[in-house]
């Protein structure tokens, strides 16, 4: 029982990180038709900005406060990089999807290489508040506390995005834009502002995932973003392109499946199981769990 509880909560924690990354990917693809391969770089840059800020904010004596302040820096840098990417690289290439893919792949590789060039490939130890490294007993299982933070962060982001969709005009624009971008413009709405906003939200969520991954894995390395991005893409496809709720459900399934398969079958089987699940979903339900297929 305790093993199952540990695997489940750890799987949910992993799924939470996948969701944070997948939510941005899904929104960006759903609204703009852009497969953003630079999203992994937003994760890496957010994580490294936070780690770097931890070193520079040593004037803050309290570790939790320093962690939070550095996390804010990481979020700000992740959001800024995302906005710049949209304005400088994506916007001039509207409707040119092949070029957009190429430019995001290039940016992803370049930023990752830049980070590795400056700070090497070595894993950097992440300064983490003591409570996050401790455990809490749940039904006899000792659960690392950071798992609860990851799950909580994902739930807050999910609720926040849904509230944004439901209660704000830009949320309405994004929902409509996912369905029919041209008609949104034909109502006199500058949909480009929604594009920038969606990139910002995606960048913030990715940076948050990067920061939490530093806690989850106990450190950060330049390949972290690329590694997580692969699973996030799988989550987006399984959940249904453009569907946030679908991404959330798929992230939970993928995270749990990896944990269960790795433990109950053999280490490494989790990755294979996820790929098999992806293949099965594509064969049986090509629109993903939500059945949503974006308008592009």
């Amino acid at each position: 029982m305790s093993t199952w509880v540990l695997l489940t909560i750890t799987g949910l924690g992993l799924g939470a990180m996948y969701f944070l990354i997948a939510s941005g990917l899904s929104l960006i693809y759903g609204l703009m038709g852009v497969l953003n391969f630079a999203h992994g770089a937003f994760i890496t840059v957010g994580a490294y900005a936070s780690w770097y800020a931890q070193g520079k904010l040593d004037g803050i004596g309290s570790i939790p406060l320093r962690f939070l302040a550095a996390a804010l820096v990481g979020l700000a840098v992740g959001g800024a990089i995302a906005i710049l990417t949209e304005l400088v690289l994506i916007r001039p290439l509207y409707q040119r999807h092949i070029e957009q893919v190429l430019v995001t792949v290039g940016l992803g590789l370049a930023l990752t290489a830049l980070v590795a060039g400056i700070w090497t490939q070595t894993q950097q130890v992440y300064l983490t508040p003591m409570w996050l490294t401790e455990t809490t007993s749940v039904f006899g299982a000792s659960i690392p506390n950071d798992r609860f933070v990851e799950i909580g962060a994902a739930v807050v982001v999910l609720v926040g995005i849904l509230a944004f969709f439901r209660f704000t005009r830009y949320g309405l624009i994004v929902r409509a834009g996912v369905e029919n971008r041209a008609m949104v413009m034909a109502l006199g709405i500058d949909v480009r502002k929604a594009f920038t906003l969606v990139f910002l939200l995606g960048g913030l969520a990715a940076a948050l995932a990067g920061i939490l991954s530093g806690v989850y894995y106990g450190g950060i390395d330049p390949a972290r973003g690329t590694h997580l991005l692969i699973y996030a893409f799988i989550v987006v496809v399984i959940g249904g392109l453009g569907s946030i709720v679908g991404s959330a459900a798929a992230a939970v399934i993928v995270g749990l499946m990896q944990q269960y398969a790795n433990y109950y079958a053999s280490s490494g089987v989790g990755d294979i199981a996820v790929v098999l699940l992806l293949a099965a979903v594509l064969l049986v339900r090509p629109g993903g769990l939500s059945g949503a297929v974006a308008a592009h």
């Binding site: 005009r169 309405l172 929902r175 409509a176 413009m185 034909a186 006199g188 709405i189 500058d190 949909v191």
Partner: protein, 233 residues
Amino acid sequence: MKPLLEVEGLDVFLGGSHVLKGVSFAVAEGGVTALLGRNGVGKTTTLRAIMGLSERRGRVSLDGAELARERTDRIVRRGVGYVPEDRDIFATLTVEENLRLAERNGSARYDLVYDLFPELRERGGQRAGTLSGGQQQMLAISRALLNENRLLLIDEPTKGLAPLLVTEVAKALEKAAEIATVLLVEQNLGVVRRIADQVVVLDVGRVVHAGPAKTFLDDPQLIHRYLGVSGAE
């Protein structure tokens, strides 16, 4: 009278086909101008090109202001409303959300819309994708009427509707013509006869006739030549 909309030498290429070949016409301020022609001659493409939804060459001006290089949203904000051929309502949004999305500047004319189509008020919370075809058309027209537009481009509003609904939509178009200039693509000659003042006729991507609607509609030979129908309603 000074034209509200001027289109000069409009060329559109779609998928390697030269769909519009130097289309030129003018729409005077006030009333309804019907854009007619057989299927596939470029009527919808003409409206889409004016709206900036298709790549185009040539001049398009609204009250003297050049639109050809403008983005679609800016064209709309100059006072151009658009009702597309396939309605293009947002199926996953509610009726109320579809209308709210169309609001431009806080002076949305909900009274006008709900007077014309009371059903929309009653169905405000219903997902637009679950509306009947006629109700979806009402919603599409309402989005264009909600704001104070100078020009309305309306593409085949009666397509696929039952006769009773055609009458209702025709009434709405008459109301629309009272408050804005209308450029209407319409296959139903009964509706055209009822509301159009002028016609512009396209054939294989070119304007082949332009003039008063009555003159065209009273000439069975012209109707047969350019529309391929007898002219009977």
